[in-house]
Amino acid sequence: MQIKDYRNLLIAVTLIGILLFASPVIALFIKPPVGEQFSVIYMLGKNHTFDNVPFNVQAGIQYSLYLGVVNQMGSSQYYTCSVKLGDENSSLPDTTLETPSSLPALYEYKALVLGGATWETPLTFQITNASFTNNVCELYGIALNEIQYSIDIPLFWDSTHSGYYYNLLVELSTYNSTTESIYYANRYVLLALNMTQ
């Protein structure tokens, strides 16, 4: 090996060494790319599974669910979950326009979730007052987590699908600390309910 070769080798080793020793400082200024950021809202049955998720419901019976939110936004988030009830013809959230349903929010949850964490809470509902007359089902009352709500949602018999179909909807909103406002996160979970006598 010639002295010239040694010189080149030493220059290469020195440059690599400088980069290695400077890497902690470089890491202070260069942030690694953040992965995909998203939030998830889900609903499970009373056994924390998709089994036992109610579909055929009757007035006077309490049904139990679990509502959960997964925060993959890379930082802590302040979520609001709005529970809404409508019939099968009611407006649903628009995923293209990213707008929530125009139905009024009955019940609200507020959850502060760490980045990467999951928040889960029970949700019980019971149709407290309903009537069935002349192919029309009318809901007058619902209890959400034991809070009674007066409603009036009449619905004609759906002859195509043979049932009275209602939607229990939970929409997810997030608080934006920069704009100091809550915005709809374009995430919702829908539970179709067939009201039976």
Partner: protein, 167 residues
């Protein structure tokens, strides 16, 4: 005083006595609204500072758990207010606000201490890197000097050889 004047006075007195009773539900309702709005603003403010503390590198797990309790109380107050069950709305909202205020001041403290801590770590990292690089370059220079001297000595010690037909 004639009979009409006495009746008029009685009517006016009755109205004056009844007026606060008629107004009471509105006053009560606005009290609840003010409580809920104040709690909402406090939680928003506290969350903003918790987020700032988190960005500064602080561990906000405990603070967020406390703020979650405040959020649950605010939601409870909100839900009860919505259905007109005003009994515990103010107390729930006030508890939520006081928890949020406490979290807010703790979050500000955590954010400040985290900023100072991260500045110290940053400074230590820079100093460590500069010293390490300087020492490494010096060592490499010494290695180079040694190699060069060795090579020179070897060159000077070598005997000249005449090669024939060397191109």
């Amino acid at each position: 005083m004639n009979k009409h004047t006495i009746i008029a006075i009685i009517v006016i007195l009755f109205v004056l006595i009844m007026m606060p009773i008629f107004h009471l539900p509105n006053v009560k309702a606005s009290e609840e609204t003010v409580g809920i709005q104040a709690a909402d603003a406090s939680i928003n403010q506290a969350f903003t500072n918790v987020l700032a503390a988190e960005k500064a590198g602080g561990n906000v797990t405990q603070l967020l758990a406390q703020l979650n309790t405040a959020g649950a109380l605010l939601a409870e107050a909100d839900n009860n207010y919505y259905v007109g069950n005003l009994e515990n709305v103010t107390s729930s909202a006030n508890t939520a606000r006081s928890i949020a205020n406490q979290v807010n001041s703790d979050a500000i403290g955590l954010r400040n201490s985290s900023i100072i801590r991260s500045q110290k770590i940053g400074l230590f990292t820079v100093v460590f890197s500069v010293i390490s690089i300087t020492i490494f370059i010096a060592v490499m220079f010494l290695v180079w000097q040694r190699l060069k001297n060795g090579s020179n000595r070897k060159f000077l010690a070598s005997k000249p050889v005449v090669a024939e037909n060397a191109d």
